[in-house]
Amino acid sequence: MNAGRILLAVLLVMNVASAIGVVYARHEHRQLFVALDRLTHERDELNIDFGRLQLEQATWAESNRVDQIARTRLGMKFPEGAEIEVVRP
């Protein structure tokens, strides 16, 4: 009889404890999920920013533009055959 009561009490305590555990885990899940969400968002934003910067860089480095600037603004040209010095090892 006594043992039964003790068992009941223990089970009751465990029940309550596990219930609190569930609540706590759920709470933690929510919090972690919010954090994950924020971080994913941040990552995506950074990725998008990176993509935008790459796009910008590629636009600036567009071959046609570089070619034009090199020829007109910097006055560069491809060396003639005779202007190339052949160096042998």
Binding site: A58, N64, V86, V87, R88
Partner: protein, 622 residues
């Protein structure tokens, strides 16, 4: 049982009932008339039934129909939202971005909500830049719907301003748009995507599954006004599209496009294509076409310019087929490089037609046939081959069959089988008429000859290694290479394609464009070549269709394109020259000229100190 003794008393009280009104001071007598137990039981039973019904209902709600009601509840505030994701980036072989997805905002509205505030419509129309009555009409048309796009793919800054107006029922959603920083130069290879970010043409279509991301799903709690209160759960994470590294080299590609465009303007041609293959790997290093279109504004361009002509259009290869005719005869053992052919008087009958050369070349050896591009010579060589031998060789070299590059819309060209030949077919085919090929097929065949007879399936993906197939004896391939080398040397038909410091093997081609019932006055100028001859690196095919100004010969029209692009490519890829002697000769000639005019200049570059190399230089400098 304890109630029992009271029963007789109750009965007694009932008997006294008529006297009740007369004696109100005796309340007990009032009770006497009721069946108390019965009533109690009734009330208790009634209440019990009620609570039983309540419990039953609760069980029904909580246990039996729980799912249904929970769903109903959730539907009122829980929403599954799509998480948009990016399409993979396409880069060239050096990691330079060629196609990048970047976010834009699309404005959408809930017409039900919007039509409740008609006074704000003009304000919205102004912000969107559309006429107010047009917007009003559209909103009213859809006033029973819950969704309509107002404007898609806007500048995010403008979209933010519109949302900031805080008009009820107007929202913005992030979408992704594709940008192609290389613009026209690479438009055909890359293709483009539609407004829903699905590949429509080119690599975007061929690798759509690889590039496309899988949008994720998340569960959120939303309030009545659509604001997200809380993120509840991630149903499915978004998987962004994978990046794709192409075999294309952006710089060579640009060169090819620029040179084609320039040649198109100079020669008044209607279109042009160029393909550059890496001989050792089969990778497509460049593939350019003119006219081109702007992939960032596809709708405005001419549909005809969208075609990747280098792979979808076929041309009669003309004289570029002659090296294959020669290789076929060498393989069959019916000629040697030194066999002599008498091409006098510059023509030869072919059924009731004639095969003619531009000049009477007299007696030519096999190399001479290639160098001078003699149709008569090619005919004489083909006559020594059986129909089947001839057909089998061209078929083996990939003519008349798709290269399986995986590019959408690739044409297999056409190579009629001997059963469909007329009596004149073999002879006309020996110099490249009566069949059609794509520039890519020609480049592949030339690459195979340069690669010691080993053909590799072309690919657009960097690092994708296709197994080479030995098609031709390496010795024969080498002999054909030596013959083709004479084409770009003095006395050949394409000295314009020669590159200082390198031996170039190639072949010109000029063919009349076939029209219904014969050949028109339109020409196709072809040049196909490989460089350098020792240790070949690049194979390139150039086609210029219908040049109208100046010459129409392949060597004069397509040759310079080959020269300019290959010269640049050799420099960009650091290919060591295989003909330093020519370089040194040119250099000393220039020095001599400079010395003749002006006082001798100091030695331009510091000579290499010591070493055998220096002696070499001394030895060959006259």
């Amino acid at each position: 049982m304890s109630m029992l003794p009271k029963n007789p008393f109750a009965r007694r009280q009932q008997k006294q009932n008529p006297a009740r009104t007369a004696t109100p001071a005796r309340p007990r007598a009032q009770r006497g008339g009721f069946n108390l137990r019965g009533r109690l039981a009734l009330v208790c039973g009634g209440l019990g039934l009620c609570s039983l019904a309540l419990i039953g209902r609760a069980v029904d709600l909580q246990l039996v129909d729980n799912e249904f009601y929970r769903k109903q509840g959730d539907e009122r505030f829980l929403r599954e939202l799509e998480i948009p994701t990016t399409r993979g980036m396409i880069t060239d072989r050096n990691g330079e971005p060629l196609a990048v997805s970047t976010p834009v905002e699309s404005i959408w509205a809930n017409p039900q909500e919007l039509s409740r505030n008609p006074d704000r419509l003009p304000e919205l129309a102004r912000a969107l830049g559309v006429p107010a009555d047009y917007l009003t009409r559209k909103v009213l048309q859809r006033s029973d719907k819950e969704f309509m796009w107002l404007q898609r793919r806007m500048n995010p800054a403008v979209a933010r301003r519109i949302v900031a107006l805080d008009i009820p029922g107007v929202f913005s959603q992030r979408e992704f748009r594709r940008f192609y920083p290389q613009g026209e130069a690479l438009a055909h290879v890359l293709g483009f995507t539609n407004i829903d970010d699905e590949g429509q043409e080119g690599v975007e279509l061929a690798f759509d599954d690889w590039l496309r991301g899988k949008p994720g799903m998340e569960k959120v709690i939303r309030d009545r006004r659509g604001r997200i209160v809380e993120n509840v759960d991630l149903v499915q994470p978004a998987t962004p599209g994978r990046d794709l590294t192409l075999s294309i080299d952006r710089r060579i590609q640009y060169l090819a496009y620029r040179e084609l465009k320039r040649q198109l303007l100079e020669s008044g041609a209607s279109s042009g294509s160029a393909v550059v293959l890496d001989i050792a790997t089969g990778e497509v290093l460049a593939m350019a076409n003119v006219p081109s279109f702007n992939p960032n504004a596809v709708e405005t361009g001419n549909r005809d310019a969208h075609r990747n002509r280098a792979i979808t259009d076929t041309f009669e290869p003309g004289s570029t087929a002659k090296p294959l005719t020669v290789a076929a005869a060498l393989e069959a053992g019916v000629i040697t490089p030194h066999t002599l052919f008498n091409t006098s008087p510059g023509w030869i009958p072919n059924g009731k037609y004639r095969t003619t050369d531009t000049h009477n070349y007299g007696t030519l050896d096999t190399t001479g046939v290639i160098r001078k591009s003699s149709n008569v010579g090619a005919s004489l060589i083909a006559r020594r081959l059986s129909d089947q031998q001839f057909y089998d060789f061209f078929h083996k070299m990939g003519y008349g069959a798709s290269t399986h590059s995986g590019f959408p819309g690739e044409s297999p060209g056409s190579l009629p089988a001997p059963s469909r030949w007329s009596g004149t077919s073999k002879q006309t085919m020996s110099y490249g008429y009566g069949m059609s090929v794509t520039p890519l097929q020609v480049a592949r065949a030339y690459a195979a000859i340069a690669n010691g007879g080993r053909a590799i399936q072309p690919t657009f993906v960097k690092g994708e290694r296709n197994e080479p197939v030995q098609l031709l004896d390496p010795k024969i391939a080498g002999e054909v290479m030596k013959m083709m080398q004479t084409v770009t040397e003095p006395g050949g038909t394409a000295t314009q394609a020669a590159i200082l410091g390198y031996h170039v093997a190639g072949k010109t081609g000029t063919s009349r464009v076939a029209h219904a019932g014969g050949y028109s006055r339109e020409y196709t100028a072809f040049f196909a070549g490989v460089v350098p001859v020792d240790n070949p690196r690049f194979a390139m095919a150039v086609v210029i269709k219908n040049p109208t100004q100046g010459s129409y010969y392949g060597g004069l029209v397509a040759g310079p394109v080959f020269h300019n692009v290959m010269e640049g490519a050799l420099r960009l890829m650091d290919v060591p020259p295989d003909d330093i002697d020519a370089w040194l000769a040119a250099q000393s000639a220039a020095e001599a000229k400079a010395r003749g005019g002006k006082p001798a200049p100091a030695v331009a570059a510091a000579p290499v100190d010591g070493g055998p190399g220096n002696d070499d230089v001394q030895a060959v400098t006259p």
